[in-house]
């Protein structure tokens, strides 16, 4: 019987998806002794099952599949000397930098001077959105269906209805059609699609898959296996239009109804969370309310492109390395930072706090509703400190804008006109 192992590292990164890999590589390049911990046998996180392309345009100027994109960052991490611990789950994190890691045959404690949270997200489930009906087999979230199809080599069903027009649902519509299933329809509650127009085109229009906007599934038929779904029309206020129901026969229902940052570990470490993003409240250096704990990627806020998650990871990794080196990393203190607020037309902005005196910060944000040509402005009192002109804006697209905050004295508000 061995004693529990306790090792000490400069930076521990929890999660080996694009954000975690990039954070680990950046921290290592900055001179830190880095340990990256991931629960899967293969690094890359969710990218390993995202076998479609569209990754890497911004990061590498190429159009890559998910696994290829992940591979680039894995090589970077290994090349930078990051130590890797796969098939290992972090089950506990304390505010003073102690991680409890569990894997086959071992429970270990790792002490880290700085920790980067990069655990990604989970999917919203049928139970959370309370779709009526019994509990038949054949109801899957789109990401689980993607794993079953692309990794598990399992055929989940023959005739599929997909609820939610986000990218995961659209990609699966095409994937399942390519593998011989019939995708009867994609159902979207909003009056506009949530996924990229590119995916509406190459996943639905190419295959004549009907898209029912302003509709949702109001009942799942079938007791033991899905037999069909009841679909109803919904108005702008989200109320069902009684009398508008129709039935769609199917044996499988896929749910692509939202992603939720996976912050259980963060909660237990006492990290303060932002109610809108469900991720941590962070400074311009991506540090959370717990000193030495940083956050990036989908666990911080849901990204639209892995490229941005990786870039954000790099920024967090650099900050974590600096913190571990004893460098001054400013804290989430009310009197020493300006608060960033989402104003009219803006759903959320990250980071939520900017230290006074910082010259320039890159903000990530999403708008509340789709619109044509628009300008997003960051305002400090009466001064415009950042502006982003867009041909079109959509809640599904995460926008980024630089703000100049060297002179900022008051809190900052981001508004979309």
């Amino acid at each position: 019987m061995s004693e529990p192992v306790c090792s000490t590292v400069d930076v521990a990164v929890i999660g080996g998806g694009p954000a975690g890999l990039a954070a680990a590589a950046a921290a290592a390049r900055a001179g830190a002794n880095v340990l990256l911990i991931d629960r899967n046998p293969q690094l890359g996180g969710i990218l390993n099952q995202c076998i479609h392309d569209g990754f890497g345009l911004h990061a590498f100027g190429e159009v890559l599949t998910g696994p290829e994109f992940a591979d680039r960052y894995v090589r970077q991490a290994i090349g930078a000397g990051v130590r890797l611990r796969t098939r290992t789950l972090v089950t506990g994190l304390s505010a003073d930098g102690e991680l409890v890691c569990s894997r086959y045959g071992a429970r270990e404690t790792v002490r880290a001077k700085a920790t980067v949270l990069a655990m990604g997200c989970r999917e919203r489930t049928r139970g959370m959105i309370r779709i009526p009906g019994a509990r038949p087999a054949g109801v899957y979230t789109a990401g689980t269906a993607q794993w079953l199809t692309n990794i598990g080599n399992v055929r989940i069903g023959r005739r599929i209805v997909i609820l939610g027009s986000g990218d995961i649902g659209l990609i699966m519509a095409r994937r399942l059609t390519w593998e011989g299933a019939e995708v009867a329809a994609v159902i979207e509650k909003l009056p506009y699609p949530s996924g990229l127009p590119r995916n509406i085109n190459q996943c639905l229009l190419d295959y004549d898959i009907p898209l029912h906007l302003s509709h949702s599934v109001t009942c799942i038929q079938g007791r033991n296996r899905v037999q069909g779904v009841t679909v109803s029309r919904f108005d702008e206020n989200g109320h069902a239009d009684s009398g508008s129901e129709f039935e769609l026969t199917c044996d499988t229902l896929l749910l692509s109804v939202g992603l939720i940052p996976e912050n259980e570990l963060s909660r237990h470490a006492g990290v303060a969370l932002d109610r809108t993003t469900s991720g941590a409240d962070v400074t311009d250096e991506y540090m959370t309310s717990v000193p030495g704990v940083f956050s990036c990627g989908n666990v911080l806020h849901i990204h639209d492109l892995a490229d941005w998650a990786a870039e954000e990871g790099e920024r967090a990794g650099v900050s974590a390395a600096r913190y571990a080196d004893g460098g001054v990393v400013r804290q989430l203190q009310d009197n020493a930072s300006i608060v960033v607020r989402a104003g009219a037309g803006v759903r959320y902005v990250v980071p939520q706090r900017i230290q006074r005196g910082v010259e320039e910060v890159l903000l990530s944000l999403r708008v509340t509703a789709p619109r044509g040509p628009t300008t997003i402005r960051a305002v400090c009192g009466n001064t415009i400190v950042g502006e982003l002109r867009l041909r079109k804006a959509h809640p599904a697209t995460m926008e980024q804008m630089s703000v100049r905050t060297a002179e900022a004295a008051k809190d900052l508000e981001v508004i979309c006109e």
Binding site: P41, Q42, N48, I51, H52, D53, G54, L57, V63, L64, T65, P67, E68, D71, T149, N150, I151, G152, N153, R175, W178, E179, L196, P197, R198, N199, I200, N201, Q202, D206, D304, L305, K392
Partner: protein, 130 residues
């Protein structure tokens, strides 16, 4: 004068292209607005004459730590040829290890396009059947 609005699928920007052309769509006859890069013009011409798509799918692996390797057409191919690619790929079984870039099928249907591995699969040690 013919007109169409289409969404470019070449990258996640998904530019909305306003396309106008006279007679046969080609570089001389076409006017494209809305593209953030020159590829949009090629895309518009292709889409009107012979739409091109990239196929991404899986193939079986024997003796690997995973049952499947993901693959892609190394370049876009005619949308009409996609089904032929899928049919040719279906019986393929790779022997592990498979590396990113390994050619799975060469020059399918004289398109000049190979199918390549996009996710590495290491060899499984011990048991040799999956």
């Amino acid at each position: 004068m013919s007109e169409r609005i289409m969404t470019c699928i070449l990258c996640p920007n998904g530019c909305e292209l306003h396309v106008a052309w006279n007679g046969e769509p080609n570089e001389q006859s076409i006017a494209v607005d809305g593209n953030l890069c020159p590829k949009g013009i090629t895309y518009a011409i292709d889409e009107l004459t012979h739409p091109m798509r990239t196929l991404t799918t899986s193939v079986r692996v024997r003796g690997g730590v995973q049952r499947l390797a993901s693959v892609k057409t190394a370049a876009p191919v005619s949308r009409d040829a996609i089904e032929a690619f899928r049919d040719q790929l279906r019986p393929v079984v790779l022997d592990a290890p498979a590396a990113i870039g390994d050619v799975v099928l060469e020059n399918v249907k004289d398109t000049g396009v190979d199918v390549v591995v996009t996710r590495a699969v290491a060899r499984r040690c011990g048991k040799d059947s999956a």
